[in-house]
Subunit: 208 residues, 2 copies
């Protein structure tokens, strides 16, 4: 069975949990406080960051985008049209571009640990960009749900946990997120709570 | 013909130039000063960062790792054992882990534009890690040259341009870099010069 070294409020860990959820792959969640820089953890991932996927008899798979590619190659590719990463190189570019947008840029500017103070300011342009995408396409990267939607939803869910997303500023973004929130893969994410830091009022509300 | 929006001292752009060089793919280089946030450039890549690959009749391919995957899928995969990304999912994890290590972590801590002041301090542990990898394997990710070597060399070459790499601290790292430097794909990188900011003394020296 797979194990995932994660943290409940790590948006990149949530991204991986959503992928595994979409594919119906069971995973054992092991909480890791990466900031404690546990020696055993650094041996598994020298970069010292969550998430890390542990698979039997295989070296650890570290980092959200690397785990996503690994799951695609070992599980997703066989699912044909239901894969979260399309087959065609050009389409893959757009999915990866948006997944990286959230895992890197949004993380740096909104959902990452160092920048939570700045989030309130940066979230607005990100929300506008998300709304623009959601208005022009069925899903963020095109006609189907892909890794891009899961990356975006994972990162937004952390800002939303903290009540930092002004959903009323963009209806298209809000409706897109409502669709994501209703998926079974999202349920464990909505059930996350941290001792001492309860989620915002509408965090787990499907009709927010 | 391909065009690459790049900057001579952008390490992620250099990474893409090395990949194209290794595969013998011609490219037209177009200098982009991303910090000027040219409107036309932002339309091509909303993230506002170099590199961006422009291919005829196809949407722009933005970002070093996305370009690398795109080149692999359209050009590299057909080269079999001479591809820069191995076929086997587990091996791909290690290549991608190291490529990301340089494109993300090293970039943040050493070769990226904001952190040049901090580079002198961070470069030492990065050099030690590189030396450790170079001592335990023929190439960074295993027995063959891969994207991981090119990512590492691209980023180190920028710190080296500025004379910030204490090569004498690690022989294995130095020998690994000397091997990379001698490759034909490296020649245009070594020929880069910026007006007003000449390279360090041994920058282009193959026997440094």
């Amino acid at each position: 069975m797979l194990s995932l070294l994660h943290h409940p409020l790590c948006p990149r860990s949530r991204y991986v949990r959503l992928i595994l959820g979409e594919y119906g792959i069971e995973v054992r969640l092991v909480e890791e406080r990466s900031w404690e820089r546990r020696e055993e953890f650094l041996l598994v991932n020298p970069a010292g960051e969550t998430p890390v996927l542990i698979t039997d008899g295989v070296p650890a798979v570290p980092g959200a985008s690397i785990i996503a590619e690994y799951i695609e190659e070992t599980e997703g590719a066989a699912r044909g049209i239901n894969s979260l990463l399309p087959k065609e190189p050009r389409e893959r570019v757009e999915v990866r571009r948006l997944a990286d947008w959230y895992n890197d840029k949004f993380y740096e500017e909104v959902s990452g640990p160092v920048v939570l103070r700045a989030a309130r300011h940066n979230i607005r342009y990100h929300l506008a960009y998300l709304g623009w995408l959601a208005r022009s396409r069925d899903w963020l990267a095109g006609e189907r749900l892909t890794l891009a939607d899961l990356a975006a939803a994972a990162h937004l869910s952390v800002a939303d946990y903290l009540g930092e997303v002004p959903w009323n500023e963009d209806d298209a973004a809000k409706h897109w997120y409502a669709r994501l929130k209703s998926r079974p893969a999202f349920r464990p994410i909505l059930a996350d709570t941290l001792a001492g830091l309860p989620p915002s009022k509408n965090y787990a509300d499907l009709d927010f």
